[in-house]
Amino acid sequence: MEGQTRSPFRSLAVAAAATTVLGAGYATDAAAQDKFKLGMAVGGNPCCEWMKAQGDVARAIAEQRGWDYIELSNNDDAATALKNAGIFIQEGADAVIQFNGQPSANPALAQRFAPANIPVVTYDIAQPGFYFVGIDNLAAGLAGGEALGNIIKEKWNCEPDLVISAEGAAAGIVNEWRTGGMRDGLKKVCPDIPAEKWVSFESQGQATVGLPAARDLLAAHPDAKKMAVVGLNDGGVLAAINAAEQLGRADEIIGWGQDGAFITGDNVNPHLAGSVFYFLEGYAVYAIRDVIDAIAAGNPPPMKDTAGDPASRVEPCPVSAEEAAKVPDMPERVKLLLEAPPGTTAYELFCPNK
């Protein structure tokens, strides 16, 4: 945990050292004050390398622009997020970007930032008064569901024995949008699947944690053979697929995930037909291009703070397992993204299904 908070302080120290080295104190102080200062609070959940990558991309773009940049980690903790808000205010940030995994803390954060007149961009989780930049989770759900629906229509003539939803209730509305969206997308292609074929289990968004519940669900539907799986994320969908493998019923199970966590690399499960990429690492391109640049130029854009009408919309990119194999991995994507002309999004660079 300490390692994550240390880096921002180190960058502060480096900045301070740099000003002293430059010598003529007054001039540099004035220059530092004139410089636009961007704050970034990364999610800090060690689960996901994209949270760290979000900071790396923001830092690189800020440096390209010649801005000062402060990065703090929310440590996946609401109290830390609040403390970080205080530090940004104290440091005189001109704008702040955050990914905050604890939506409950957002109103309190807004109360801190508003009196300081610091505009805030929030990723993926909306808060009134914060510029919303993020994935259209509902669109992502719908796109994934449709893609899975097309497979089911072709293979099973829209007559699956079971459609399994891998829920992640803790994600709240995001779960509704993604899992529910996938169901709706699937229904668009296959509208006549009877209600009793739709079943759910709580996967908690993790393959291993959701595994026992998935096994129990499958045991309770012993006759189902043709099974389609949708869910909050790839991990949850994998829980159902792994359960079917263990119960010897994996011959005809097809899953389509969200977030693309397990659709690339050497270990792609053959029953995971596809997923939806958000290219989470590249959000800063959208945030800076569509919001921060304008603020830095002195023309703050109109407030758009809802997922339905976002300040900048991140395009979801549904991919089949085959297509995903051709998408570069995350470190490579970060590298290519930073080499591309300013403002180019990861979606434009990497999505095979534009």
């Binding site: 289990f201 709580e202 393959a207 129990d216 499958l218 012993p222 994998l238 019923r249």
Partner: protein
Amino acid sequence: MAEHAIGHAAPAGRPGMRFRLDGWGTAAVVALAWVALVAISAINRPDFVSHQTVLAITFTMSIVGVLAVGQALVGVSGGFLDLSQPTSLILTALVASRLLALGLDLVLAILVTLSVGAAWGLLNALIIVYGKLNPVIVTLATNFIGLAALFLLFAIAEAPIDSAFRAFGRSSFLGLPNIWWPMVALVLVVGFLLPRTRYGRHAIAVGGNRFAAQARGISLRATRFAIFIASGVCAAIAGLLFAASSGPFTPASGTVYLLPVIAASILAGVSLGGGRGNIWLILLSVGFLSTVPTALVFFGLTSDWQAIFQGAILIVAVAIDGYREKSVAR
């Protein structure tokens, strides 16, 4: 063989007809509850009694059962609890997955994984023995530190999906999961050896009355070392079965096992106070505990209910243990 169950029955000389919940008494209660649960579920949904249900339950049993053996050894020998199992489970699963991904020979990978588990137990024991600290606090702390270290080490890991190791983990033998059999073998072997070997009897004595044991020349230190290393090795065996049978896991994936494992150990009659417990009964307690969530699904209850039931069962288990201890106090 009844005399091998430590503390199993009221002495013949005492006419007190109080029902005793230790040893076979607890076993009878758990067995009865299990039979009742299966019967009610079967009446509710006749298709509950199926091979699919058996598979679902036995898969759930496997890892919990292996961990419960380690937990029971710690409990019987007076170490109270090993709260570091979630970390040692994931640490060893990570080691196995990484080694296999590197293409290391399976046997070698297993040996290294078991050694890592033993080393983890050794670490716990070193702190407990030389720090003269309470094992519960020590393992709580090492679990906390270990989890944080794991987060620094990796985000998501998985054993190679097309390896023989993973194929073993998803397949069955004689209609029951491959990973179930090692668990049963471990329970039977440890359950046989614990009350019948000198080492085992010394461990039980240390748990029952460590002053008396020390007065007989039994080393508390040696016992602590042996037991915590054994618990680490059990966690490593569980880690291997976990890595073989599960999909991608995160550093926190082991946390969910702690509660059912402790409940299983207590329901098997292992006294939290130490000195008592029949490892064989773990088959019964783990079987029962693993049937509960499956049965709930057949009743159409959601996973929220499973958490409630699990918590309730733990409380009942601890209450039974407390009652046992009280009934002992003369």
